[in-house]
Symmetry: C2
Subunit: 309 residues, 2 copies
Amino acid sequence: MKYCFGVDIGGTTVKMGLFSTEGELYEKWEIKTHTENEGKQVLPDIAASVRAKMEEKGISAEETAGVGVGVPAPVSEGIVKNSANIGWGYKNVKKEMEELLPGIRAEIGNDANVAALGEMWLGAGKGCSNMIMVTLGTGVGGGVICQGHVIAGANGAGGEIGHICVNYSETEKCGCGKTGCLEQYASATGIARLAKLRLAKLHGKTLLEGKNLSAKSVFDAVKKDDRVAIEIAEEFGAYLGHALANMAVIVDPEMIVIGGGVSNAGPALLPFIEKPFQEKAFFANKDTKIVLATLGNDAGICGAARLII
Amino acid sequence: MKYCFGVDIGGTTVKMGLFSTEGELYEKWEIKTHTENEGKQVLPDIAASVRAKMEEKGISAEETAGVGVGVPAPVSEGIVKNSANIGWGYKNVKKEMEELLPGIRAEIGNDANVAALGEMWLGAGKGCSNMIMVTLGTGVGGGVICQGHVIAGANGAGGEIGHICVNYSETEKCGCGKTGCLEQYASATGIARLAKLRLAKLHGKTLLEGKNLSAKSVFDAVKKDDRVAIEIAEEFGAYLGHALANMAVIVDPEMIVIGGGVSNAGPALLPFIEKPFQEKAFFANKDTKIVLATLGNDAGICGAARLII
């Protein structure tokens, strides 16, 4: 047994965890992300925090298998080309991290891919080596794991699930510049958009109110059997379920894990995704389980630590 | 350097090749596929042919790294559950093959996945470790390679590219029982179908004739600037190019290789696929190259041999 650190860099905080290589989480904590000056301080701050924790616990470099870091950007061979959220341009994160922590190995991954790895290691996907994770948050992110490894892709842009085109007649643009991306229908923002569009042409009763529309308000109303909210959830579910069926035919996963803020709606969410998935699933993929993520915000640190193993 | 054998089992013939582990193809030959009696003879016939070649060339079991076999069925850990084309039900192909050839390792893969591996090893994808191969034949098959490994999936059904749904309003059924599968528009059969549908409602001149419609006749007419044929090719290309853009966003390949009978149309085929691909490609995937396969019918034996390495 050795120790390892999992680090999840976000735009406002850096989440950190101390683990055993066997998957025990001993302690977690956060530090601020100093994005000023092109994020120059981010890695030195992380290194200082790792060193402080090692000292506090009396852990030597020899007892440390490494530090895994999740970054909100495509990552290829430890290198980030651009991460707007933290202020970074081109940065060899692996190299800099290893220079800051002599004698300790660093491994770097994209945050959404890393979260998928976390769920596989210690969460909903435990024991599973072929898995898709979809994170339904402000945007739609994800990670695809095949035979235990994340598909990082040629440019570190593997698993960009949110930008699968699911509607070729969409006219409104996605943040990425394309139209009809899954993110426009299945993110928290996308669900609120679907709700707004439906309310605008509605002639009936609903618990939903035009000014407070959110993914949460939609699924709260679904749980009270609100017909309009159910229709919105069905629309969301059709886009997501069909997209997942198309992904499954490519990577043939054992399991699809749904995480992110939208998944806080709980088990009520799943039938809306499962029904359209089954409608469009290839026969070989019919047994793919669709489940909720279980690690919440810890998926990132868990998966980052898993990069080391 | 060692020797290895690549075996590609088809419904009528078994293609076989003798390779060096460095990728030199010394010799290739074919034997008949005896599908009668539930294909009982297929593996013994292959083993006999391998042994005969080893004797002929004076190759010992110690000099042989192994025998790779491509099978027209999903394969998981060397096991085939059902292969209608060869008459097999459940069969542990790896185990039986190794029993038939004592001291020689066998590795088994799905034929379309194996063809992708062949193009990566010795064909259009040489030097590339993230690649999608699409085979446009009677059906549409394919293989997805990430970090040098085929994505076989949890049930051996990875890379079933032909059954991505690309048209949610299709009413005609695909062979798989679903509707709107890529195979219905981008296989040789699918292109002929598109041509037939278009000719049925046509009021204009074309070189195409209702009774001899095929993917070949369509692309022959395209090369003669036939307007109707060009429209059919554009329709085919839009379905395929958009599907490839959606696949690229998941696996982020360096290269997409187009093979199978339809690819015999040559370089004239590519712009019809590239334009819609670029229209719908995520920014990180814009540089993905789309190229023609170069190994033709040898892709199967090459990839099967590559399974050993």
